[in-house]
């Protein structure tokens, strides 16, 4: 991995978050997030557990409903009542910590399901596309395997292919390597890096600091439901400004 190939962000914000609050009962998970994410940015979100990283990600595609505030994706307000959330989700791919492949379907059928049912794509076309995507994530030979017969890393790569099948403009990654055995982490990160190099806009919640440094174009540090620091990954690593960021990095980097 190297830094030279990072694509330059450009244009109108892909995602705009304004004053986002989220409460779970009495617990304030998010206490006012303001963010603009530009096309082609690879935003790595880090922070201690319980800081609201995943909640923020899940609010972006409407898996969690915002208590207060607004989220816009390509100008469409996700948080508005009259917005067809399914239309928005077609543009926003998401990959989960626990893979969530559909266990009753083969790898290729996992990938073709949404294009067939949502896009009403022709079966031949969907299959062709799915095979190309599986090939891209290095699993063309596993097209007819059921998830139970794939390793965690392979399952997660199928999940990435599945999300890409809807031609999303943004990809959300929610701790996608946290449930993997250590030796399987890099194959998933490599796939994500490839995607970043192609210019995909990405929000990546992760604990993989190597990935953050090498692939991220922007790093956001969150703590207690707020964005504490936001900027260039290398700069934040080398010279964190906020005491909480300093504390966090000193704890995790002391083991490297």
């Amino acid at each position: 991995m190297n830094n030279e190939v990072k694509t330059e962000p450009s244009g109108e914000p892909m995602i705009r978050i304004e004053g986002l609050h989220k409460k779970f009962g009495d617990f304030d998970a998010l206490k006012g997030i303001d963010l603009e994410i530009l096309p082609k940015q690879v935003v790595v979100v880090v922070g201690p557990s319980g800081s609201g990283k995943s909640t923020m990600l899940r609010c972006v595609n409407g898996l969690e409903l915002a208590t207060r505030g607004h989220i816009y994706i390509e100008g469409t307000e996700v948080t508005h009542k009259s917005t067809d959330i399914n239309k928005v989700r077609e543009k926003v791919g998401m990959v989960f910590q626990s893979f969530n492949l559909f266990p009753h379907l083969t790898a290729i059928k996992n990938v073709t399901l949404a294009p067939l049912k949502v896009r009403k794509m022709k079966p031949e076309e969907a299959n062709e596309k799915a095979l190309a995507l599986l090939d891209k994530v290095g699993l063309a030979d596993k097209a007819d395997a059921f998830p139970a017969h794939l390793s965690g890393g392979q399952q997660q790569r199928v999940a990435i292919a599945r999300a890409l099948a809807m031609d999303p403009d943004v990809m959300l990654f929610d701790e996608v390597t946290s449930a993997l055995d250590p030796e399987l982490v890099s194959e998933v990160l490599d796939t994500m890096k490839e995607l970043a190099l192609e210019g995909m806009t990405m929000m990546v919640v992760t604990h993989e600091m190597g990935f953050a440094k090498e692939v991220g174009t922007r790093l956001i540090f969150m703590d207690e439901g707020l964005v504490v620091e936001d900027g260039d990954p290398t700069q934040i690593f080398n010279n964190p400004q906020h005491p909480r960021t300093q504390d966090f990095f000193s704890k995790i980097l002391s083991h490297l």
Partner: protein, 320 residues
Amino acid sequence: MDGPDPGLGLGAENISEFEKPDVSGWAKASLIMGILGVTVFPFVGAILAIVFARIAKKQILRTDLGGDGLATAGQALGVVGLLLLAIGIFILIRHESLKAFVNDFFNWETIKFWWPKVGRAFLTTLKLAVVSEFFILIVGLLVALLRLSKVKTFRVLATIYIDVIRGLPLILQIFIVYFGLFYLGLNFSRFTSGVVALTLCYSAYEAEIYRAGIESIHKGQMEASRSLGMTYMQSMRYVVLPQAIRRVIPPLSNEFIMLTKDTALVAFIGLSEAFLVGKEGMGKAANVTPLVGVALFFLLVTIPAMRGVQYLENRLSKGD
């Protein structure tokens, strides 16, 4: 195994792995007594076989002697010997009662006349069960989906329906449906009323089974599906239900077996299914043989079905 570990080869259990253990003498004696007990030496032989087997089993527990299988065989032979003896004595001294028993339960004349009639009526029983089950599978699923709906009104209505139905005896529901429809001026046949009542009742139970199945599917499945842009209904249909239904096939099949048996209750509104015909036969022939026929027809269907469910359960649990 490469041979005894020189460092550990002290315990008796190590030796027993490499040399065949001696067989308990009591176990051998038990088997021999068992064989004598069922042949030439009844009663005493059987008793001794059981006693020797007990001694052998205690001895095997305390020491590392073999022969547990022999002792069990001797014990079993002993029990069989005693049973045979009891039956023999019963036949000898109660010859007349046995004849009466056969005349009542397996009367040949009655069999010839009534079992074919009962068999034909059993077809009605099966038809009632199958037609009802067809509707129950659909209505049950719909009720389960309402029960899980985000709309509170649907949830409440479904819950009330399920609770009321499950809180009432089936026979009462059958009567209320049949006579209720009748006094409403709706002239439904007995068969149709039976189908309506059974569907009404069993849908409530099967809805709960469907619900448990759907709830057992990890919520990540729904989330992943929704995040791909699929609607709630599409996600249910293509992602959650295929997995949930696979899990509920065994319990739903058990319900179907129960339903098959419960169709007999529809006899009480006068539908000529197997039980009613059997009951009529019992009255006319003045023996219970027609009802024994009904029982045999039911078992012919229910026992293979139960075995089938067991087989399915084993296969599905391996698949997970």
